[in-house]
């Protein structure tokens, strides 16, 4: 059964620190605001929603205890609507979409909201612990190194210099700035408002449109210190062809730490008929897999290939590619693995410029790609993210 995408919306993104505009917004309110916006746009009878799946990577503190159900309640949706929070690291938002598509596709449910929320300013990344970060036995036996070391290793292995990754970052900034100026995000971004109706944030404010190669070049490497403490040694055990890891990634060419939320309305033919919803697109195929967990970030290319295979399509069939810019080298590696060019990849910039609210990003990218396919009149868009533990995820959508 076809899983239609009826709509995809997101919040704007803002710096994930106390100084960020969305810091004062509780994550449950951030998510509820998006659900509420979605309801209003379609005058949705929420009693018809079978489930709400939200990705959240740091589900403790403000984001703990199944924030999906809490957000459903906070949005004032019908009490019959359940909610579930999931965590597949950075893939969580897209995993939510894929699970919704699977539920609909299998005939188990007819209308599902999939999305994600992450208030990185309020619940810091990594603060939920876990074996990969806080279990000495696991870290030593499995060579669990910080992801940035893996990103730097990818650049080292491929021979990408600091200039290469900074140039990619600069281009991301330029593209995002242009897209914002041209109103490309306007359809999907819902302003975040307070209880009085005052707007707290209307559009993404993380961008640095005026940055330059010089400014980027002046930033200090983020992972050289950690690498020197021993993580470089650990990762070299798996990659003995590398004598010295070139620590090229900085805050300027890595994804931004931001707050944000997103939701995608996914449903069946029945939902389309019953609720008179207009499909904007459909989910063609999805794939998730895992590659070497030590370098951690090389999964997206293989995931996209697996997804294409499931769809029976070729690389050349895809009009737009979207790879989450966790780090510049991840995007560069993805393009290299798939043999695709920058003219059809991340055409409106990516997380380097806009930010990466961990659990929400995957769902945000649905709107980014769908909007652009509509703008260009394209057909297929592939969305991929690198994921902790060496996983990779891809979702192929078709505009309708």
């Amino acid at each position: 059964m076809t899983a239609f995408i009826f709509d995809a919306v997101r919040s704007p993104r803002s710096r994930g620190k106390a100084s960020g505009t969305l810091h004062e917004v509780k994550p449950v309110r951030l998510a509820a605001g998006i659900l509420e916006g979605l309801r209003k746009r379609h005058d949705l009878d929420t009693a018809q929603v079978d489930d709400v799946i939200l990705g959240c990577v740091t589900p403790i503190g403000d984001q703990g205890s199944c924030i999906a159900k809490a957000a459903v309640q906070a949005a004032g949706w019908d009490e019959s609507v359940p909610g579930v929070q999931l965590d597949r690291f950075c893939a969580s938002g897209l995993e939510a979409v894929n699970m919704a598509a699977a539920k609909v596709g299998s005939g188990q449910q007819d209308l599902v909201v999939a999305g994600g929320v992450e208030s990185m300013s309020r619940v810091p990344m990594g603060s939920n612990g876990g074996a990969m970060l806080t279990d000495a036995e696991f870290v030593l036996e499995r060579l669990s190194v910080p992801q940035g070391i893996g990103a730097d290793l990818i650049a080292t292995l491929e021979g990408w210099s600091r200039e290469d990754v900074d140039a990619f970052a600069l281009e991301s900034q330029k593209r995002a700035a242009r897209a914002q100026a041209e109103g490309r995000f306007a359809r999907s971004v819902l302003p975040v408002k307070d209880e009085n109706g005052f707007t707290i944030l209307a559009q993404d404010d993380f961008l640095r449109p005026d940055t330059t190669m010089e400014a980027l070049g002046a930033l200090k490497p983020s992972f050289a210190g950690l690498g020197g403490l021993g993580f470089d040694e650990m990762i070299r055990t798996r990659y003995p062809q590398v004598l010295e890891i070139d620590h090229v990634h900085t805050p300027g060419n890595s994804s931004g730490i931001v707050d944000g939320a997103a939701a995608v309305l996914i449903g069946s033919e029945k939902a389309r008929r019953d609720l008179n919803l207009e499909p904007r697109g459909r989910i063609v195929a999805a794939a998730v897999l895992a590659t070497d967990p030590v370098i951690m970030l090389t999964g997206p290319g293989p995931a996209a290939r697996k997804c294409l295979e499931r769809a029976g399509l070729e690389v050349s069939d895809i009009d737009l590619w979207e790879i989450n810019e966790a780090f510049a080298s991840v995007a560069l590696r993805y393009m290299k693995d798939l043999g695709i060019g920058p003219e059809i990849t991340n055409v409106n910039g990516g997380a380097i410029a806009l930010g990466h609210p961990l659990g929400a990003t995957g769902a945000m990218l649905i709107s980014t790609v769908l909007d652009e396919l509509e703008h260009r009149g394209g057909r297929y868009g592939m969305i991929s993210l690198c994921v902790g533990g060496g996983m990779g995820i891809s979702t192929l959508i078709e505009r309708m």
């Binding site: 990594g126 603060s127 612990g129 279990d135 870290v139 650990m234």
Partner: protein, 719 residues
């Protein structure tokens, strides 16, 4: 349990029971007999009616020296459940001791290490005698083990995660004063005779204070210093702590990681009883690991055998060196002078000019300063050491020396000239020792007036830190000279290994093979980065290309050519001619002579970093790739095979000599337990099979020596 009760139970009229541990054998150790007796003692304590306090003391010189290593070393697969049971019984008794409603004091009158100190940790207070030589600590990690008697859990609970780390992860042994400062003990007494009285007095002082009878971790609301492992600040440090360990061990030694793991579990993730059980499980998982067996074999057994100096001829009275001459005040010479002066020997440090001799003395001063600034030596001790060294450019000053060590440039003619100039001024009985790493002693002694007094003493650089000395006898070296050489090495606190006079002796011969194999692989066209990294990952302290750059590329060529010229080896017998060709081309055609000469396999940058010299690309054949395991084993197995041949040829007399010399002299990976012990836990049969594979793929130099084949047949370890 049969046998005499090793714990004397004395119940005094004041209600204080003194448990005095006095085991048969050389020292108190924690073994099955002790555990049974200890349990019985605790049973009795629990049933006392008017108990007011307990003192745990030793009736022997030491408090207790730890676990029974003979028992641990003999463990075989299948014995794990038994060990687990023993630990449970021991820990149960300690917990019951801790829970007695009265204060318990450890009266530490002698060294308390490992299981001994763990016993003290189960007491409410630790009082030690502040006397020289008394040591306190948990050195288990040095034998590839973790403290398994509650030491990881209790020390972590007591000191906190961060503060406990050096004592658990590095196994540091402390003097009473240091232990007091670090919080490992609570107080010291200066007079051994006052120890028990002070313990008793403390019990009186805290009489009626219920808290004093409780362990910190049993008190309500106790918080571990520095917080729990789950606090955000600590949790964030765990992976970094693990990475820092990895940097040291490269994942080749499991014990430190086990310790860190138990520490984090003990620091707030588990209750004390569960943490103690987890500690036992992790201890048991190590006892049969090859790394553990190897480290015990080398660092416990082999080390003791070598230190005993078994090769010293018997029946010759020891005659300590009182006055030593050192000729050549360079790197080796000043190091030898320092080591001797430190041991109280007066030294004449001689060189061609007084400037050179003074430079040697200045270098000794620098060694002294470093130790003073780190608190290892007092200012006055340092000054006394330096005062014993007299720089001199006057040959006549060597008159009256009991021994002269020549440490001049490694060339025959230079050494011959030095001998000719200095020997005439020496007393008839003076020993002449040549510090050579490769030149044959018999040949060097040929021009000596008294070849019976001539011997080789091969020191290692840096002499102030390296404990090994190879002793090489020439054809005519007398028994008396050999005995005096042994005595001198022991006198300066170093470890003697007797080797036969043959090219490269033991250490140079073995270290050359793995370096040559690495060079051969470069010559073949393999990736130099991979060769370098896999050498490190085999456990060598530095990669082989770094090593060759440090030594210099011309030295191995010179030594080879000298040996050929002297008829000691034949050029066509060189098993790795590619390595030699590579060195010649690098050094003489391409001008890449090594680090000191500005660059070799690496370029050395001003910021202290180095990168592979891009010119190495000329040898690289991208299509030539072999498995990483083969690259690693080619280096490691060459060294092991060469060591076995040395044992077979009698270059070394015993496996222990090869193990200690390889570990302390030439950077054999610690987890192997030395290049000969490596075969024992690798399995002689499996070792021979792997040699056969490597020989088939890479040449007959990997053929397993007969000694390995013999042991593969019998299955017996090479000891």
């Amino acid at each position: 349990m049969n046998g005499k009760d090793c714990i004397d139970y004395a119940h005094a009229p004041d209600g204080i029971v003194t448990l005095t541990v006095a085991m048969e054998g050389p020292a108190n150790v924690i073994n099955e007999a002790f555990i049974e007796n200890f349990r019985n003692a605790v049973d009795r304590l629990e049933n006392e009616k008017d108990l007011r306090g307990v003192i745990l003391a030793s009736g022997r010189e030491h408090f207790a020296l730890g676990g029974d290593i003979d028992m641990l070393f003999a463990l075989k697969p299948g014995d794990e459940a038994h060990v687990m049971d023993l630990l449970s019984r021991l820990k149960d008794a300690k917990r019951r001791l801790e829970r007695l409603p009265v204060p318990v004091v450890a009266a530490i009158g002698g060294t308390a290490l490992g299981g001994g100190y763990e016993l003290a940790l189960a007491c409410n207070r630790r009082i030690a005698v502040d006397r020289p030589g008394l040591r306190i600590g948990l050195p288990e990690v040095g034998l590839g083990l973790i403290p398994g008697g509650g030491g990881v859990v209790r020390l972590t609970q007591m000191l906190g995660l961060e503060a406990a780390m050096p004592f658990l992860l590095e196994g540091r042994q402390l003097t009473p004063a240091q232990a007091l400062k670090a919080g490992l003990i609570d107080e010291t007494v200066s007079d051994a005779g006052a120890l028990l009285a002070r313990a008793r007095a403390w019990i009186e002082e805290v009489a009626g204070d219920a808290q004093a009878a409780l362990q910190p971790w049993d008190r309500k609301g106790y918080r571990i210093p520095g917080g729990s492992a789950n606090s955000p600040a600590n949790a964030a440090r765990i992976a970094v702590g693990a990475a820092m360990l990895y940097k040291k061990t490269l994942g080749l030694q499991p014990a430190p990681g086990h310790i860190l793991d138990v520490m984090t579990e003990a620091a707030g993730r588990l209750d004390v009883d569960s943490a103690l059980r987890y500690e036992s499980r992790r201890f048991v998982s190590l006892v049969n690991r090859p790394e553990t067996k190897n480290m015990i074999s080398a660092l416990h057994y082999d080390m003791r055998k070598v230190a005993r100096g078994e090769g010293r001829p018997e029946g010759i009275a020891p005659a300590p060196v009182e006055r030593l001459g050192v000729i050549g005040a360079g790197m080796m010479g000043h190091g030898i002078a320092w080591a001797a002066a430190r041991a109280g020997i007066r030294v004449v440090l001689s060189d061609r000019t007084s400037e050179e001799a003074e430079r040697g003395l200045a270098a000794c001063r620098a060694l002294a300063e470093k130790r003073v600034s780190r608190g290892r030596l007092s200012r006055s001790e340092a000054e006394a050491i330096i005062a014993r060294i007299r720089p001199s450019a006057d040959t006549g000053d060597l008159a009256g020396c009991d021994m002269v060590i020549e440490a001049v440039f490694e060339k025959l003619d230079v050494k011959d000239a030095v001998l000719a100039r200095h020997e005439p001024v020496l007393d008839k009985g003076a020993v002449w020792a040549s510090n050579t790493s490769t030149l044959p002693i018999t040949r060097l002694a040929r021009n000596a007036r008294r070849p019976e007094n001539f011997i080789g003493l091969h020191f290692f650089s840096p002499v102030d830190r390296m404990r090994l000395v190879e002793i090489i006898t020439g054809e005519k070296t007398s028994e008396d000279t050999l005995a005096r050489a042994y005595d001198f090495v022991a006198q300066i606190g170093k470890l003697p290994v007797l080797v036969k006079d043959s090219p490269g002796f033991f250490t140079s011969r073995v270290i050359n093979t793995k370096a040559a194999e690495a060079l051969e692989m470069v010559w073949e066209g393999l990736d130099p980065a991979r060769i370098e990294n896999l050498g490190r990952q085999a456990g060598f302290p530095v990669g082989m290309l770094t090593l060759v750059d440090e030594i210099g590329l011309t030295l191995p060529v010179d030594i080879f050519d000298t040996n050929v010229a002297m008829g000691l080896i034949r050029a066509e017998d060189d098993p790795t001619p590619g390595a030699r060709a590579l060195l010649r081309e690098m050094a003489f055609t391409l001008g890449r002579k090594g680090k000191a000469a500005g660059g070799g396999f690496f370029d050395y940058h001003r910021n202290g970093r180095k990168s592979l010299w891009p010119g190495l690309a000329r040898w690289r054949r991208a299509e030539h790739a072999i498995p990483d395991d083969d690259i690693r084993d080619r280096m490691l197995f060459r060294a092991v095979i060469e060591s076995l041949r040395c044992l077979e040829d009698g270059v070394i007399g015993h496996a222990c000599d090869g193990n200690i010399a390889s570990l302390l002299g030439i950077g054999a990976p610690m987890h192997t337990g030395g290049y000969i012990q490596f075969v024992n836990t690798y399995g002689p049969e499996r070792f021979v099979a792997r040699c056969d594979e490597l020989a088939a793929a890479y040449g007959p130099r990997f053929t397993a020596p007969g000694i390995a084949r013999n042991h593969a047949r019998t299955g017996e370890p090479i000891l």
